[in-house]
């Protein structure tokens, strides 16, 4: 089976599993919305300040909770399933690519739900023409975050402390993504070019893709 056929099969089954378990819409999204509600209370800001911090809170919570979406798929692999994939001749790079595809779609869906919740709860003052750059940056952040999550999942596969360790790996490495995502909207507000931030996101995604594909086989072999 070709690389792309394996990639599509892995992505298809991951999406099918998500449809059945419903973890993202039923657990991650409500929890993130609650966090959106709690954030202003914790900061103690007045109502007028809420509209100002809305986009920043969106990106902070988006990356933190998006990380959980990105990590949950690779965490579901049992050792027996990993062995089976190896003996079926699944290319670990195809598995990485498939996981990234399905994870990025889920993360993007999560971002969309969180964005709507943020618009409703914070009523932010957004500059004209904010939607397209925000969607573009959200898509690039979703891809990068999922690549990072999948890679961290592979690095920590087979370790007892994998859940907490994978989050620890992802959080600092997601900094370029959170900066790129938040600064894109900031640039629109300042009527400045968004290009540097889009390039930062693209470069991060590309570097993670190269690392993910290149390290997939050695990480897979080392995890047993």
């Amino acid at each position: 089976m070709s690389f792309w056929s394996q990639t599509m099969e892995i992505a298809r089954v991951d999406m099918s599993l998500e449809r059945r378990t419903g973890d993202v819409p039923q657990i991650v999204v409500p929890f993130a919305v609650i966090a959106l509600l709690v954030f202003p209370l914790a900061l103690g800001v007045d109502l007028s300040g809420i509209s100002r911090i809305g986009p920043a809170v969106f990106w902070a919570l988006g990356v933190l909770f998006g990380m959980q979406v990105a990590l949950r798929q690779s965490a579901s692999d049992s050792p027996e399933r990993r062995d089976l994939y190896a003996l079926l001749g699944v290319d670990p790079a195809a598995k990485f690519a498939g996981r990234t595809m399905s994870g990025a779609a889920l993360t993007l869906g999560f971002f969309a739900a969180l964005l709507v919740a943020m618009l409703v709860l914070y009523s932010p003052r957004l500059p004209q023409g904010w939607l397209a750059p925000t969607l573009l940056s959200a898509m690039l952040v979703a891809i990068g975050l999922t690549e990072l999550g999948t890679l961290a999942g592979e690095v920590t596969a087979g370790l007892r402390s994998r859940t907490s360790l994978a989050s620890l790996i992802v959080a600092p490495l997601a900094i370029p993504l959170i900066i790129g995502g938040s600064q894109t909207l900031e640039s629109v507000a300042r009527e400045a070019t968004i290009l540097p931030w889009i390039l930062l996101l693209l470069a991060t995604d590309l570097a993670l893709a190269v690392a993910g594909v290149g390290l997939a086989r050695p990480l897979e072999e080392a995890s047993r």
Partner: protein, 213 residues
């Protein structure tokens, strides 16, 4: 004819524990080799070593001509069939979906799936989720997969334990078919009574093999 699997004074250490030491074994085409050992004796590790899923840290070995612990094994893994003591099914998928997923990933025709499910007696229950299925049903799904992929070397880890007599016969038929087509089978179990198909039986204790028959 060349041996399908060889181990030459091979050892495996997992963590700080030496699980296998100085294992020497040769499995010829058409042969069924049995390995009997108590829990923790290294049976599963031995099968995973031959399946190329773990590398030896001592000695050498080959499977289907590929040297264990090298990248050569990536080209032969698809010809190795493993039934481990825990079925490798995805709980949220139905038995049929599990089989289809494996068959698609391996690049085989999915048209054979219905036939394989019928042969293993799952035609009426293949739409049941793996999480709602019995151990025996999941095992039958694995047998169906191996009927389609036709491995050259079949590795069975406690494959018959907990199965009813019909499922037991299916595993026996899978062994016969593999051996009949020039392949080889290695059966490991804690139970010597499960070695009825084996032409050679070894005992495995404290990580070392001794021939019993």
């Amino acid at each position: 004819m060349a041996a399908l699997a060889t181990l030459d004074r091979t050892g495996v250490t997992l963590g700080n524990s030496r699980v296998l030491s100085d294992i020497t074994l040769s499995v010829e085409p058409g042969e069924v080799v049995g390995v009997v050992g108590a829990n923790g004796s290294g049976k599963t590790t031995l099968l995973r070593l031959i399946a190329s899923l773990i590398a030896p840290d001592r000695g050498s070995g080959t499977v289907l001509g590929a040297r264990l612990g090298t990248s050569e094994v990536f080209n032969v893994r698809q010809r190795i069939g493993l039934i481990s003591h825990i079925p490798a099914t995805i709980p949220e998928l139905t038995l049929e979906e599990n089989l289809l997923h494996a068959i698609r990933l391996a690049g085989y025709e999915t048209t054979k799936v219905a036939d394989a499910l019928r042969v293993v007696g799952l035609e009426g229950s293949s739409d049941r989720k793996a999480s709602d299925s019995s151990f025996g049903m999941k095992r039958r799904t694995e047998v169906a997969r191996l009927l389609i992929t036709k491995p050259s070397i079949l590795l069975l880890d406690e494959a018959i334990s907990g199965l009813d007599s019909d499922a037991h016969k299916l595993v026996d038929a899978l062994i016969d078919r593999t051996v009949g087509s020039g392949g080889a089978v290695i059966v490991v179990s804690h139970d010597p009574l499960q070695m009825d198909k084996a032409s050679t039986v070894f005992g495995l204790a404290v990580g070392a093999l001794t021939e019993m028959t």
